[in-house]
């Protein structure tokens, strides 16, 4: 007999294998969907790390989406850097930027933090649209991305998505994760237990920035075209909030389920993007009112069932 843990591992392996072999047997459209799903998952998982586990409601994740995308464009196009290196640099610059703004931003608490992060992203949006170097508001073409095959971009997207889930899983099982759990239960008493709250939150903020920057690099390989008003737009964070809330904030599985719902709805109503956002908004409000833990949070509570338990046995 297999232990339940081993069973679960096998299950995960089978799913991973099925996804990885997708380009070999599935229609191209499916592959595209899975890629979009993976990229959204990576971004949402990072928002979940902030809002669901660290108590930081950031409304400024689009700052790192834009930085990741623009870094890819500038380094690969202007300086001829290899694409993957440019994407990594995008992640690093996002980390640097997160560190840079952390000093003022972490002086803000709660809703002020939300307002502050958003304002930072808006500032970048305006700066980039007034910056000749990046083509003002017209934006840039990520031309080198044409050299990549569709499947390559798919694997990059899949990798980022899977890696984000794995990262959260290991963070939550690490000492950092224990600190996060203690903080979530009670911030004041966890401080007396020796959890350095500022440091714990900062690490999460910076990690989330880095992964968001990298994931956005891959995203703009697929988008090809980057403009300040969309790259630094609040729409990114809107998406992440909806995905995480609907799926279940503060659970690893939540963003997975949420991203799936998001991508399906978006594709289904692809000709009416405003209708799909409208529906998502309504679903999100209904979820907050009736099942504040989201789909997965509610299921876990009712059935005591977790696929990826962050708790150490």
């Amino acid at each position: 007999m297999l232990s339940s843990f081993a069973k679960r591992l096998y299950g995960i392996a089978i799913v991973a294998l099925a996804l990885a072999s997708l380009p070999l047997w599935a229609p191209r459209y499916w592959v595209l969907i899975v890629m979009l799903f993976s990229l959204n998952l990576a971004l949402a998982q990072m928002w979940n790390l902030l809002a669901g586990y660290s108590g930081l409601i950031s409304l400024g994740q689009q700052a790192f989406v834009g930085l990741g995308g623009y870094t890819l464009a500038v380094f690969s196009m202007y300086y001829g850097f290899p694409i993957w290196l440019s994407i990594l640099i995008g992640g690093m610059l996002s980390v640097l930027f997160a560190l840079l703004i952390s000093a003022p931003i972490f002086r803000m608490r709660g809703v002020y933090f939300a307002i502050g992060t958003w304002t930072v992203a808006e500032t970048l949006r305006i700066l980039f649209s007034n910056w000749k170097y990046v083509g003002y508001g017209m934006g840039l073409f990520v031309k080198p991305a044409y050299t990549l095959s569709f499947n390559t971009i798919f694997y990059a997207g899949l990798f980022v998505g899977v890696a984000s889930v794995a990262l959260i899983y290991f963070i939550l099982r690490s000492k950092l994760g224990l600190g996060l759990m203690a903080m979530r239960d009670d911030e004041t008493s966890s401080e007396t237990l020796g959890v350095d709250i500022f440091r714990t939150k900062l690490i999460c903020f910076v990690l989330a920035a880095g992964v968001t920057g990298v994931a956005s690099g891959v995203l703009y390989l697929q988008n090809i075209f980057i403009q300040p008003f969309s790259a630094f737009g609040i729409d990114w964070t809107v998406r992440l909030v909806f995905i995480t809330i609907i799926g279940g904030i503060g659970t690893i599985e939540g963003p997975i389920v949420g991203s799936f719902i998001y991508v399906v709805l978006q594709q289904w109503l692809s000709e009416y993007p405003s209708v799909s956002l409208l529906i998502l908004g309504v679903i999100a409000i209904v979820v907050i009112l009736l099942a504040p833990k989201g789909i997965m949070g509610t299921i876990q509570e009712r059935l005591g069932f977790e696929i990826l338990s962050p708790r150490r046995k």
């Binding site: 409208l278 908004g281 907050i288 504040p292």
Partner: protein
Amino acid sequence: MLAMLAGLKNPIMNGLLLGGLYGIVGIGMSMIFGIVRVVNLAHGDLVILAAYLSFVTLSIFKVSPLLSLVLVIPAMFLIGFIIQYYLVNRVLGKDMNPPLLVAFGLSIILQNLLLLIFTPDARALVTNLSIATLRIGNFVNIPVVYLVDFIVSLATIFLLSRFFTKTYLGKAIRAASDDEGAAELMGINAKRIYAWAMAIAGGTAAIAGVLVGMTFTFYPHTGPDYLIIAFGVVIIGGLGSLLGTFLGGLILGLAQILGAHFLGPGFQLISGYVILLVVLAFKPTGLFSKG
């Protein structure tokens, strides 16, 4: 030196007048933040919704935008009441995030609803006032519509302050914001009071929306721009004081216009944001609050 100062007369005047408009944009948000302790992320969209409601009214009745307020204010009042009573009140509690997220969802719903109904085209509430300018002395040119904005905002803020000090409802709102539990012991249904407060905030959004529509063009997605302006006004002005909010508006307006004057038009918004960030980081309770 003197010439430079003379050259600044226009931007300073325009900045202050624009600041009056910002004050009225921010006042509803400030009220809800101060009274219900909720950051209404849909406030900017309510302002734009009001502009569209006025737009519809004008296309039916062919009246001046200011006159459309007769219909737009009650409509926004009702919408505000419903939003608070049936949505936000249900998630009020120790955790400030659920109401924040409900408002966020509402913001997206409003934007996309407006997009579906009105298409992404730019709209404006055009009047004769929109293009007229007023010349004072030799140097100062003021767009008349800015002056109207300023006067209407000032009048609104004056009326609001009378409302809060002279009426039972106004005093009850202040009492509930001081101590919800004690207010309930006095016979005040705090949840209903919050709905009234949001209704009034909706009424101020109606006025702000009509003024914004008379002054600038607007789109279904313009809401967040005004939300950030409202943030700026609330953060700079601090909570709980109508006058502080108005002053916050003036500072923000002045910062924007002077930023544009010295650094170029592209920097109008940025100078506002930078001031907002600095205040957020160093005195998040606002410049005009004690402590």
